[in-house]
């Protein structure tokens, strides 16, 4: 490089410090800008405001006959609303103190999101198995509740996990009763 257009710099005095400061400051400011620029490109993949706005839906429970269940959509996910029979409720309560993988009492399974007790006859849970998200089928398994056919998880009449690979009970979405029969989910 001896014959290059770039002269060799003689080191001298405070010159290197000032030079280094400019380079470090420029690099730091540039890095901050690059980091700030990345955020919009990451955040754009989050749910958009139209998607978020659909986050709650209302349902009239009087449409569900006793012993039946309906599947409704909440946040584009299926949710079971089961009108339980007295026998189902009794079976669930009887097992409140049984050894459960994810212990919860039946009353805790129907509590509203504002902390108020719900209605025992209406069990509202997300219809996706806590294992890998398949939709369980009612009437399967040996606990009178749901069976997930994908990997054999069995839920009881309070949608609590009883056997199989799923780690937790079916998740109850947040909901409140806005009247005697209307429930607002989300």
């Amino acid at each position: 490089m001896a014959e290059s257009a770039v002269p060799a710099h003689g080191g001298g005095g405070d010159e290197p410090t000032r030079r280094d400061f400019i380079y470090i400051a420029t690099g730091a400011v540039g890095a901050v800008g690059a980091a700030a620029l990345v955020w919009p490109f990451i955040n754009q993949m989050s749910p958009a405001s139209d998607t978020l706005a659909l986050a709650s839906s209302e349902y009239d429970l009087s449409q569900v006959p006793e012993g039946q269940q309906v599947v409704i959509f909440w946040r584009k996910k299926p949710v079971f609303i089961r009108h339980r029979t007295a026998a189902e409720i009794a079976a669930a309560r009887a097992d409140d103190n049984a050894p459960l993988p994810d212990p919860q009492t039946d009353a805790e399974r129907v509590v509203q999101s504002n902390g108020q007790p719900g209605k025992a006859e209406y069990l509202i849970v997300e219809a996706s198995c806590t294992h890998f998200g398949c939709v369980p089928t009612f009437g399967g398994g040996s606990y009178g509740g749901w069976l997930c056919a994908c990997h054999g998880s069995v839920y009881d009449t309070a949608a609590r996990i009883r056997s199989g690979p799923a780690p937790a009970n079916l998740v109850a979405p947040p909901y409140v009763y806005t009247s005697d029969t209307i429930v607002k989910i989300g």
Partner: protein, 486 residues
């Protein structure tokens, strides 16, 4: 320029990798130790700026494709949803739409720079041709992208451009239908345009790699157009060119940001905020600004030449305006590369730039617009009253309406005084210079510049003395500056 590599692996891993995939060596030789002429001016930073533009368009484009729906029922609304509901969608969509204009602005400066400093001449012909290929691909990508928001301009722009193909005899119409996937611009067209709009930028990126490769084989041209003789003429790319490119890129980003944040609609057309309507053509269809000069050339041909219709002729000239760039390296006969040392060619070049800008202006105007007129409209009439005799009436006006109005007054007065009779009128129109005629003159110069000026001037012109080396050129410039200062 590709001398022996100066890369020395520093760590064990770098040595290990270098023997298997010498990618670090390639980057080092191309972007760190690469010898760069030391006399480059700011026009040489546009390569880096264009790189920024391409990356920006690809990144924002991929993001937009996550939210856009290519269907004629949803396309317009999905773009609105991006602007209203998607987090930062307004920002990313603005960057992408404005970015297209910025990309073309930068590429035009880059091309004019190459033209002025003779960067297309041996040994850089392939480098130049690859650049023109990139430009053509950019044009196609921009056109396809403009269709996607599915506004009025999208739809009618696509209709007009696909109709270009019908100018081709016999096979034209089948080609047009094949392109559209139907008999009009419709859902199949929108879907394939979306697909191709997504594909082409990656093709551009591929050609850019070839372009940079070719650049690194021949080395950069420079404002003096002198080949690099030895190391005294150059500086290493990093940090010298890198820091200058970064600085210029930030200046460019400032302008970019002004448009994105404060003038987002300035470069677009309001009609594209009206959803596409196949039943109603907007009164003035214009392409985006960066295609206006070619649009003006297309419309300049309003006459047929022998078997070639005006439609086909305009199309051929428009294609020729870009096509001629491919053979430019062999049209210019001058031995001197940079117009810095070509006193006459420099003036022709400046006029050429002005002509291109003027063509752009013409492209945005209605072709019938009158730019200027010599004289006034005159209405001459002879009036023969039934009672006998003959009177002459003359009225003038700047417009035909004004002349008619003035004439009507005279006629009424004459009829009132001389009674009913027979009137014969002739209208003398002044010479009117319209946009079409202006475009024709400009088109003539555009082609004459390439086909006459560059070939002939190169043989006739006496160039100024070209310094032997870049170092001497810088010395001469410094000397002149010192003299001026003193």
């Amino acid at each position: 320029m590709s001398g022996p590599s100066t890369y020395e692996p520093k760590t064990g891993f770098e040595r290990w990798l270098d023997q298997r995939l010498p990618i670090v060596r390639m980057m080092h030789d191309s972007f760190v130790d690469y010898p760069t002429p030391r006399n480059l001016n700011y026009f040489w930073t546009f390569g880096a700026i264009l790189m920024l533009c391409l990356v920006t368009q690809i990144v924002t484009g991929i993001v937009l494709a996550m939210h856009y729906t290519p269907s004629i029922d949803d396309a317009f609304n999905s773009v609105q949803r991006i602007r209203r509901d998607v987090p930062f969608g307004w920002l990313i969509q603005n960057i992408h739409a404005t970015g297209a204009s910025m990309f073309f602005l930068a590429v035009y400066i880059h091309m004019f720079r190459g033209l002025y400093y003779g960067s297309y001449k041996a040994p850089r012909e392939v480098l130049w041709i690859l650049g023109v290929v990139i430009y053509v691909l950019m044009t196609a990508t921009a056109f396809l992208g403009y269709v996607l928001p599915w506004g009025q301009m999208s739809f009618w722009g696509a209709t007009v451009i696909t109709n270009f193909f019908t100018a081709i005899p016999v096979v034209g119409e089948p080609i047009q239908q094949w392109l559209m996937g139907g008999f009009a611009i419709d859902n199949p067209t929108l879907n394939r345009f979306f697909s191709l709009h997504y594909l082409l930028p990656f093709v551009i990126a591929g050609v850019v790699i070839l372009h940079v490769w070719a650049l690194h084989v021949t080395g950069q041209n420079n404002p003096d157009g002198i080949e690099v003789k030895d190391k005294a003429d150059t500086v290493p790319f990093t940090p010298y060119a890198t820091i200058k490119d970064l600085f210029a890129t930030v200046l460019f980003m400032i302008m970019f940001a002004v448009f994105v944040f404060f003038l987002p609609d300035a470069l677009g057309h309001p009609d594209n905020f009206i959803p596409a309507d196949p039943l109603k053509t907007p009164p003035h269809i214009v392409p985006e600004w960066y295609l206006l000069p070619f649009y003006a050339i297309l419309r300049a041909i309003d006459f047929s030449i022998g078997p070639i219709s005006a439609k086909l002729g305009g199309l051929m000239l428009m294609a020729g305006a870009i096509g001629i760039l491919f053979i430019l390296p062999w049209l210019d006969t001058s031995k001197v590369r940079s117009m810095r040392y070509r006193p006459v060619a420099r003036w022709f070049f400046l006029i050429f730039v002005a002509v291109c800008l003027a063509l752009g202006w013409c492209g945005a105007q209605s072709p019938d617009k009158v730019i200027g007129q010599a004289g006034e409209f005159t209405i001459n009439a002879t009036y023969k009253p039934a009672a006998g005799g003959e009177q002459t009436l003359t009225a003038t006006g700047h417009t035909l309406e004004a002349a008619e109005k003035a004439f009507e007054k005279q006629r009424a007065a004459t009829v009132a005084s001389a009674g009913a009779g027979e009137l014969t009128t002739t209208v003398v129109k002044p010479f009117q210079f319209k946009v079409t005629q202006f475009s024709q003159l400009l088109t003539l110069y555009y082609f004459a510049f390439f086909l006459l000026v560059l070939p002939i001037l190169g043989l006739r012109e006496t160039p100024n003395r070209v310094p032997e080396t870049i170092a001497k050129a810088i010395g001469a410039k410094r000397g002149a500056a010192a003299e001026k200062g003193a």
